[in-house]
């Protein structure tokens, strides 16, 4: 099954100051949010002041981009992130994901492991709770109010020392 082409996306691209070869910083908004929010514009102001390349954009069906909101899926919005990486940044990127954008940045990093060189989450909403539990176990843990701690303990126990260090530094 072929998916229809994505709608035209609205974006703002600030090019790097001459000589700045640092990765392009790409802001990924949250659900039903857009690129005019204070986090996106503050990040762009920082990029302009420091000479970094920066992209902010609207997902299909959101903000100034074309498309109907009701038609969008998470996979569509991931593809919109990939379009920004492939067609606008055209080089290494650091993704900054807010809320649902934090989930999309992980999907994008999985799809472009060579190009996505860094991830920054702002109150990210990824699905950390999915790993290693059956649905019955998740429900039991949730009703006991223990899911977050139990998941964390479970993950930490399953990790190598190096992985543990990396996660703890990232928290």
């Amino acid at each position: 099954m072929t998916r229809p082409p994505r709608p035209m996306l609205a974006f703002h691209h600030v090019e790097a100051r001459d000589g700045n070869t640092a990765p392009t910083v790409v802001f990924l908004p949250g659900y039903a949010s857009d690129m005019t929010g204070t986090k996106a514009t503050a990040l762009e102001a920082w990029a302009r002041a420091t000479g970094h390349a920066h992209i902010r954009f609207d997902y299909g069906g959101c903000g100034a981009s074309e498309g109907a909101f009701a038609d969008q899926t998470l996979a569509d919005w991931r593809d919109d992130v990939l379009a920004m990486i492939d067609q606008v940044a055209k080089g290494p990127v650091v993704l900054v994901g807010s809320s649902m954008g934090g989930w999309l940045m992980l999907l994008a990093a999985k799809a472009r492991p060579e190009t996505v060189v860094g991830l920054v989450g702002i109150a990210p909403a990824p699905d950390f709770t999915d790993w290693g539990f059956t649905t019955e176990e998740k429900v039991a843990l949730m009703s006991a109010g223990q899911l977050e701690r139990a998941t964390f303990a479970y993950l930490m126990a399953a990790m190598s020392d190096a992985e543990r260090d990396a996660i703890v530094k990232g928290l």
Partner: protein, 160 residues
Amino acid sequence: MRLRAATAAAHARVDARFGAYDLTDPDDYARFLIQHARAVGAAEAYLMRAQPTVAWRARMPLIAADLAALGHGVPAAAMLDLPSAPNIADGVVYVLEGSRLGGQLLSRQVGAGLPHAYLGATHLPGEWRDLRQQFDARDAADAAWLAQAKAGAEACFALF
């Protein structure tokens, strides 16, 4: 519908909370919408990835339009930290789609001239009946469904 009975206490708490807003007052109404935007935004963002077994229709663009007309932006969404599992997601759909009924009642209280795209977004003809029948069918087909949907519904009620 067994899910309705199983979540009645959480439901009553939410109804009591939102009875306290004066929807004829633009500032109070905006506070009401901002609180709903946080909750609905979190729940809908969860549903985008959780793949419930039943259909749902997003209302965040409607809240955003109402808030914009009142001079407000969309607030940062709350978090719905639930596992992605279809039965749990069904409970979230029950709360969100069911809230169109309460919204319809509240929309009559909104002051004249104030935007009400969100509260006025009622069910399509037959939509809620079909949804209830689908929930009952899922409950009958899967012994684990009720407990999982209840967990999702209660987490979603708690957002509001």
